[in-house]
Amino acid sequence: MISDLFSMTVLVGILASGIRLATPYLYASIGETFSQRSGVLNLGVEGQMLLGAFAAFYVALTTENLWFGVLAAIVVGGLMGLAMAFVTINLHAEQGISGIGFYLFGLGLSDLLFQKMLGTVETVKGFPKVHIPVLSDIPVVGEIFFRQNVLVYIALALVPLAWFVLNKTTLGLKIRAVGENPEAADSLGVSVARIRYFTVVLGGIMSGVAGASLSIALLNVFQQNLTSGLGFIAVALVYFGAWRPWGVLAGALLFSLINSLQLWVQVLGIPIPSDIAVMMPYILTILVLVLTVSRVRPPSALTKSFERGD
């Protein structure tokens, strides 16, 4: 029974499905990493994902062009980010509460639009799996990494890109400065508001694409509350990853791999009650958080709104 877990089919299955499951988390968490590094906690990720998922699905269904769908998710996610930025940066609203407000707004509006514009669950032909020539033929590795849909590849490519932008560019330096010490950044001529607008809108765009990765690539359907809490886990993964893109990747993969492991544990008939099995990813996440929390420190200005003193 337990030894079945170590067969090649099972290991490849766990890893390939772990990477698929991690994709929506990666988009949303990397976007959220940017907002949080600049000092804005966006709890509205789930709502942005839902609206992005709906927009992508609806546009892909009606235009039969998947890239238009992605574009729609980008626009809708960006607009949601813009609204969030206005409320938290210009109006100085409490970030946590307004994030929850935007979540509920996204949940309600995506459901309303779904009922009015589609009325029933439909399917769309989503992004197909792309077999990358040569690489996809490598035994084991090929099957795990190189036979996924295009949005999976883009998500994975965004990790080093995000790391580079945050750590090796002037823009990244400004983002970090604004998140650590907005007064100092301001005194050096960095526009705190402009940087935060940029990161929060970027976060919205990424959440929108995270939604699209579900509705037109992984699942190819839309229904009410499609994301079912994924957006909140994405926010938790930013803490888990200590506000670093590679850490976020590690967290998303760990969480997803444990989730796919528990599915296999049940399929192989390993005698663990299903209730315990489904708790595994959450228990492990909490455990890692507890063990690492003392080592890491959130951006100093996180959740604090900034007003110029002059």
């Binding site: 109006l91 100085h92 935007f102 579900l214 699942l219 079912s228 209730d275």
Partner: protein
């Protein structure tokens, strides 16, 4: 200025809360005593989920037509009430607005109903899926013998399987979901002894992504026939289609999601229970009885996809199984 901002945030937050929690009404509330019979329903998922909530919505539409349209019966609903507290508030609201029958369509609403019903002795309540009326005389209970259609689906799936492996995507190991899954396993094993029926419960009624990955797991483990129950299976049906595996549906017809891969569906016909409840209310009884829909009373119907070419011998076996369950020659042995 600070006060203004606080107020603005409060107003914005309340506004979005209200958009999110709005109730959809099919008809403005008619307040006349002598007007149509008024039903209100609270459901956990969307009315078009192709599963649990839709089965109740379809039944209400059917009953309304049977009774002669909106002059005879009107109904309103709150769907997507996955938060039990919100659902409880809605149930109480409907009761205090004078609805004749308030249906709490979800076993998670039981304890709320137990609290609310005694405060409205002149209102009839119904809830399911369960057999428990709490001994309160204005509560009806209803349940589905979902193991019966599960068994039939299991028989068909085992007969069609070439790989000898089947996969089941379950939500939470409880209620009619567990009955369906156990029935499916029993049917498959009775038909092809030694067949492998892999089951995984994903721990959620709504996580479409995990349900889809659960189905991928089954396919990777060699399954060529899949089934699952509850509203999150729409993700799994797509996986069946993509991998050319067969799908067996339950609760409502799921054929339209994968017309070439859905073989058969067990469809719930709650209208059978609803007519009985309405007759009882008409005669002055507001509750105290529990009902079960099954193949025998027509509350569960096997719906075969006309576009799927089911071999004649399998079709005959499926029909004989339905008949056997109805006349009692087949008894379904459920697991522990």
């Amino acid at each position: 200025m600070k006060k203004f901002r606080f107020l603005l945030t409060l107003i914005l937050t309340l506004a979005v809360l209200l958009t999110a929690c709005q109730t959809k009404e099919t008809e403005p509330v008619v307040e006349e005593e002598t007007g149509p019979f008024k039903i209100a329903v609270v459901m956990p998922s969307a009315i078009n989920d192709l599963a649990f909530s839709q089965s109740m919505y379809d039944a209400l539409v059917m009953i309304q037509e049977e009774m002669g349209g909106e002059e005879a019966m009107t109904f309103v609903y709150s769907d997507g009430m996955f938060v039990v507290d919100d659902a409880a508030a809605a149930i109480r609201d409907y009761a205090s607005q004078g609805y004749d029958l308030v249906i709490a369509h979800g076993s998670q609403y039981g304890s709320s109903l137990q609290e609310i019903a005694p405060d409205f002795p002149d209102t009839s309540f119904a809830w399911g899926t369960t057999v428990d009326t709490f001994g309160i005389d204005n509560i009806f209970a209803y349940e589905a013998a979902s193991q019966e259609g599960g068994y039939v689906n299991g028989v068909i799936a085992a007969s069609l399987s070439e790989s000898g492996v089947l996969g089941v995507v379950g939500p939470i190991e409880t209620g009619d979901a567990k009955l369906y899954v156990d029935g499916f396993v029993a049917g498959a094993e009775a038909t092809v002894p030694g067949i492998k029926v892999n089951v995984n419960y994903i721990g959620s009624f709504s996580d479409v992504a995990l349900a889809s990955e659960a189905a991928n797991t089954h396919v990777a483990a060699g399954a060529d026939g899949l089934t699952g129950t509850a509203q999150m299976v729409i993700g799994a049906i797509g996986v069946a289609e993509e991998n050319d595996a067969l799908w067996f549906g339950t609760q409502a017809s799921q054929t339209e999601l994968a017309p070439a891969h859905v073989v058969a569906n067990q469809v719930y016909r709650w209208d059978v229970v609803l007519s009985e409840i309405l007759d009882l209310i008409d005669a002055g009884t507001l509750g105290g009885t529990s009902f079960v829909i099954d193949l025998a009373n027509g509350g569960e119907v096997m719906d075969f996809n006309p576009d799927f070419e089911l071999p004649a011998d399998v079709q005959a076996l499926a029909e004989a199984t339905v008949q056997g369950i109805i006349d009692g020659t087949i008894t379904i042995e459920l697991g522990e």
